[in-house]
Amino acid sequence: MPTFVYMTRCDGCGHCVDICPSDIMHIDETYRRAFNLEPNMCWECYACVKSCPQNAIDVRGYADFAPLGHSVRVLREEKKATVSWKIRFRDGREKDFVSPIRTTAWGSIPSPGELDAPEAGALRNQELAHEPQSLHIEGGLPALSPGQLKRGAA
């Protein structure tokens, strides 16, 4: 249905509402718990599933082509910097996968505003921030000469 929410696990915290790129996770006004209000605009991106502190959200494949009985579960652990998957086939076979998600501490990226200010005049050249060093090449930023371009047919 993409995504759906288990009544007994959801505590209505709203993390899924806050993260859903498609704006389809909403809080039900009667039960004060989350639900998917527009399953046919769900991409199965799992952003809500990964964000749920109660593991209350799961996915049931799209009814038009996915037979029942499967599951693809995920556990994203920021502190461990891993994402773990368990795939269960309709016939019961299982597969497990674990991948790293980040090599640095969360929040560790410096603001470009805190870095040394670029030299006056650099604003007019073609180099972007951190260039040419960030290209890891000799000879600076590559460029064409205007004469290298020629007009095509028609």
Partner: protein, 614 residues
């Protein structure tokens, strides 16, 4: 007394306004801060930049990396590749510009914490193919969003931008944007000295193969609602190559990617009877498109063409031969993690249908068409090129500035730069932002003026669907059928049906002609009139209503361009049956359009293609 009159208006002034916080928007936000230390940089996003845009669910590869540090490729090589793949027509000046900067972007991603796989033998990034490197990219977007949040003065999430504003006295000068908060319903007016549109391309303008619950499992994200195009089109920016839609060959139903399968796992396709079907169709293609079929690699559209012809000949399904490769446990892991990293829905489909590629060769399909600017296609705005080498005809101002003053673009928004993908889109955002900082500072922070009357008119128009629904709903007992309004889903499904049947969707084997396109335009006109009667029950539907308006206008552009180009340039993407051949004598050029919002008319023209000397 209309409902809009009680709405709060929030006014925000910015030096640089960035619309859309996906890859391109995050790149623009980062770079704008680097060069514009004391500027007010505002990024506005309809979802949450932590997980927004096409990279929301992650990626398993970065598809645009030169590897200049190891002498793997040079920017010129990438230009030749993109040109060949797009049958000769790309903005080579813009493409080169991205290619020369993109390695620096990728190196920053790695420094910020994105896990990029390494080849244990060489120590270099692990190549999936000539241009692709493999990553553990589940958190690609959160990492990039962190950099953007650090850089921005303010990030506004959950604000759907509906229109750009132009200067009160100069309609060719951008002055800001308006939209609404999808949570509070507040009306937002952003005034800005420069605007960068980095919104998403277009899914859901052609009818998708899955029309029920699975309609959300489009190849491109369902939230890519064509704002990339509609926003600039509405203020008269010239667009290019809007006919150049893309069709994807993908795993059936989930649209799981095939790149790693072809390039890294070395799997291959065959028809239902185990035959390699491509060579015979390529031989026939030579009659209609000449030696373009001999390019290496074979252009994406032509491989689609062979697939389509084989299926039409009754020898489907086409399958990916995975059984051999998947006996290798490493390759099996890569095959599955590839989906879990970027198209989880495909893993769901395979689990549900008991498809284990170690034992079953999975089916492939061709998708419905999409309009976007960063994959093997390059629809988008006509933009000024880099000042150090772009030809005079491609330079009228600042890099990535459109034909509207102060209006810049990046990512799906900018046309002509195929194969930029995630890293190239972020890079293009950086390029546009540096130019925008220059633009603002060189004008001594000149502040364009917005018209209060225009803002008030837009406010009425934006919230009108809520009022239309509230009033019309009282006429009927219950249900979705009303004589007074259309719901957003009704309008979307009509749009998709028109585009499918008249403009070359799956239902017509991607084929159209002048009479079909002309009739399609008549039906689109009526739909456009009917969209004045869109009804929205709540703010969520109001977002859907405006997404539909953006898709509508973009579809009109696609249809106009398809009508204008009288040839079949990209067989496998679409066919003009009345002009079945590629025609380099008359159409080795770009198509440009300009929309007049007052008359609703379109003007089309040709623009020259410049090639890098080989």
């Amino acid at each position: 007394m209309g409902l809009f009159t009680r709405r709060k208006t929030v006014s925000i002034d910015a030096d640089i306004l960035i619309i859309g916080g996906g890859m391109a928007g995050c790149g623009a936000t980062y770079e704008a801060r680097y060069w514009g230390r004391d500027l007010k940089i505002v990024c506005v996003e309809k979802a949450n930049i932590e997980r927004s845009g096409a990279v929301a669910q992650g990626l398993y590869a970065i598809n645009c990396y030169m590897g200049m540090q190891w002498g793997e490729n040079q920017p010129e090589d990438h230009v030749r590749y993109a040109r060949n793949d797009l049958m000769g027509l790309v903005r080579e000046d813009l493409g080169y510009d991205i290619a020369r900067h993109v390695d620096g972007t990728v190196h920053k991603f790695e420094e910020w914490g994105l896990p990029i796989m390494r080849n244990p033998e060489t120590g270099r990034y692990l190549r999936e193919g000539k241009w692709q490197i493999m990553i553990h990219g589940e958190s690609y977007k959160p990492i990039v969003a962190e950099a953007a949040r650090k850089a921005a003065t303010e990030v506004y999430n959950r604000i759907m931008v509906t229109h750009l504003l132009t200067d009160r006295t100069r309609p060719d000068r951008v002055a800001g944007a308006v939209g609404f908060n999808v949570r509070t319903g507040d009306f937002y007016v952003f005034r800005a000295k420069a605007v960068i549109v980095s919104a998403g391309g277009a899914s859901h303008i052609f009818k998708p193969r899955a029309a029920g619950e699975g309609m959300g499992r489009t190849w491109y994200a369902p939230w890519s609602s064509a704002s990339a195009y509609a926003l600039p089109i509405l203020v008269g920016a010239k667009m290019m190559q809007m006919e150049n839609r893309i069709v994807l060959t993908r795993f059936k139903d989930g649209y799981g990617p095939v790149g790693a399968y072809f390039l890294h796992l070395k799997t291959y396709t065959q028809n239902a009877y185990g035959e390699d079907y491509e060579p015979k169709w390529f031989a026939v293609l030579r009659e209609t498109i000449g030696d373009y079929v001999d390019k290496h690699p074979v252009p994406t559209c032509l491989r689609n063409h062979a697939f389509l012809e084989e299926v039409k000949a009754g020898r489907g399904p086409i399958r990916m031969v995975t059984k051999e490769a998947f006996q290798d446990p490493h390759k099996e892991t890569v095959g599955w993690e590839n989906f879990l990293g970027m198209t989880i829905g495909q893993a769901v489909v395979w689990a549900s249908q008991n498809i284990d590629p170690k034992h079953t060769n999975p089916e492939l399909t061709t998708s419905e068409p999409y309009v976007m600017g960063s994959h093997a296609t390059c629809s988008g705005a006509w933009a000024s090129g880099p000042s150090d080498y772009a030809p005079a005809e491609y330079q009228w101002g600042y890099n990535r500035m459109m034909t509207v003053e102060g209006l810049f673009g990046a990512g799906d928004t900018i046309g002509g730069t195929a194969h930029k993908f995630s890293s190239g889109s972020f890079t293009e955002g950086r390029i546009a932002a540096k130019a925008a900082v220059n633009y603002v500072l060189e004008r001594k922070r000149e502040q364009p003026q917005v018209s209060e009357a225009e803002c008030n008119d837009l406010k009425k128009a934006i919230f009108k669907p809520l009022e239309t629904y509230t009033v019309g709903r009282n006429e009927i007992v219950a249900g979705t059928v009303s004589p007074s309004y259309l719901l957003p889903l009704h309008g979307l499904q009509r749009l998709e049906k028109i585009m499918d049947e008249y403009v070359g969707g799956i239902g017509s084997h991607y084929t159209t002609n002048e009479p079909l396109l002309t009739r399609g335009l008549e039906l689109l006109k009526m739909l456009k009139e009917d969209l004045e009667l869109l009804g929205a029950e709540n703010l969520h539907q109001l977002q859907r209503a405006w997404e539909l308006q953006h898709r509508m206008l973009t579809s009109e552009a696609v249809t106009q361009h398809t009508l204008y180009r009288e040839e079949t340039r990209w067989p496998g993407y679409y066919y003009r049956a009345d002009h079945p051949k590629l025609d380099d004598a008359n159409w080795h050029c770009f198509t440009l359009s300009r929309y007049d919002r007052h008359s609703g008319s379109w003007q089309l023209e040709k623009a020259p293609v410049y090639h890098i000397v080989d």
